[in-house]
Subunit: 211 residues, 2 copies
DNA sequence: AGTATATTGTGATTTTTTTCACAGAAAGAA
DNA sequence: TTCTTTCTGTGAAAAAAATCACAATATACT
């Protein structure tokens, strides 16, 4: 077995969301070009991505929605689901918590952490806010492997190291700095500012440049 | 002139942030490998990216921090800066507003919009919340070209179309659906859930797969 | 002045990702 | 049954991005 290309994973996650919508609407089959239109990519790309999950379609009826969802779930999910920690229970953290609580069955935030004594003990969305002192203990008890990092930039590197120390193996990083970690740790950056700057640049470029 | 590769733009934005930190610490020169270490990429890539901005270094002293920042600003910024609209002033929007207010000089959120009458007229971070009815008027008056979209998924497509109608040319989309828009509109997606699913997948893959 | 050294700038190469294009297959029509 | 259509699955080609590798060069040292 081989690890699937990054981009394909992202698209598969998107396909799954779209397929679930189709399923709710009662659609039983889809063609690669239907998915492509919905996801904003090409049909060839959809088929290539779907090859990865080992689910095949039928030249006349396309792919079975249910079957496809299952195949993608097999790749993306574990049957038991994964626990996630949210570290830094500030403005952003407080927006993210209910958002994930609403959407996800298989990826559930089961603990939040903060250094501010006022926040510790607070319970929201069925999830307690713990002190940073109890990080290692709680993460081990709840068997958490993944963390969402939303602490101030000044402490992000240090907190990330604490997380690794506590056996966290993957981080979704909202802090606008590149974390310096051993490269067996998975880090996925959500750099909001960079994304906005990119939009601004591309928008301007689209106007100025006659390509 | 040619539009620069997407990935380079992202990295350049990151370099600029890092360079500004260096500048604040009094550093005057950097080598490509310094920046590479800080940004988590390779020195060759840094040099390639910097070629794009047309700023050259010196084989013995490296690049001048100040000069480099200027060159990157020339590419990424307009001298006057850009106004940005935030559409959907809910949980996420309320977290994003102060975040951008704090950080950005050149990209400033100057108006927020919401359909909820209770939110309209609310002022925070020097920025008023307007009704959707006044969208076109306010966006035109303030000469806004870029919007951040944080409305519920159900209405996102429709709201996006209103934005285009109001002459918005670029959208930073936080809504987890792929917007279907004419492709002269720049759309940059921030799909938080997808990113978390990717972290979960890669974390698991790193453990299971002996590559 | 000449030499040693470390870095830049950039062609060439490799790797990764996307697109093309078409053989093979399933279903319905005649 | 056979023909037609429209799709899938995938090898091959193209495009995009990253890496390699090295000549050119600026500085410090002798
Ligand atoms: N607010 C946004 O919309 C937004 C968007 C993108 C990125 N970010 C980034 O996310 C991070 C958080 O942003 P925010 O707006 O929520 O800030 P915030 O100040 O509201 O929240 C930060 C939280 O981290 C806690 N904290 C501080 N030091 C800590 C430590 N050592 N260990 C654990 N917790 C600690 C604070 O008590 C606070 O609750 C920042 O790095 C910011 O740049 C924020
Ligand atoms: N909360 C998060 O952390 C988070 C993270 C990632 C993505 N998102 C996405 O961002 C979007 C907003 O999330 P949220 O948590 O802020 O939700 P929210 O319900 O708190 O905010 C949505 C806001 O949009 C407004 N709105 C509704 N219909 C509108 C319309 N037609 N025109 C203009 N405004 C309208 C609502 O009044 C509300 O203020 C959602 O699509 C969500 O999936 C949220």
């Amino acid at each position: 077995m081989k690890t699937s290309p990054n981009k394909s994973i992202e698209r598969l996650s998107m396909y799954r969301r779209l397929l679930r919508e189709s399923e709710n609407e009662g659609t039983e089959n889809v063609y690669s070009h239907d998915l492509a239109d919905a996801a904003g990519c090409t049909a060839a790309q959809v088929r290539r991505d779907l090859m990865l999950v080992g689910c095949s379609g039928n030249p006349k009826t396309g792919y079975q929605v249910k079957g496809l969802i299952n195949c993608i779930c097999n790749l993306l999910d574990t049957p038991e689901g994964d626990s996630v920690a949210l570290v830094g229970f500030g403005n952003l953290g407080k927006a993210l918590l209910p958002f994930f609580a609403k959407h996800h069955k298989k990826l559930v935030i089961t603990a939040t952490f903060d250094s501010n004594p006022k926040k510790i003990g607070e319970i929201s969305n069925g999830c307690e806010c713990y002190s940073m002192e109890s990080l290692k203990k709680v993460i081990s008890e709840k068997n958490i492997k993944i963390a969402i990092l939303t602490v101030p930039a000044e402490v992000a590197q240090e907190v990330a190291e604490q997380l690794i120390e506590a056996n966290i193996q993957g981080i979704l990083n909202f802090v606008p700095i590149p974390l310096q970690l051993k490269n067996n740790i998975i880090v996925e950056n959500m750099h909001v500012e960079i994304a906005l700057e990119k939009v601004a640049y591309l928008t301007r470029a689209a106007n100025t440049i006659t390509d």
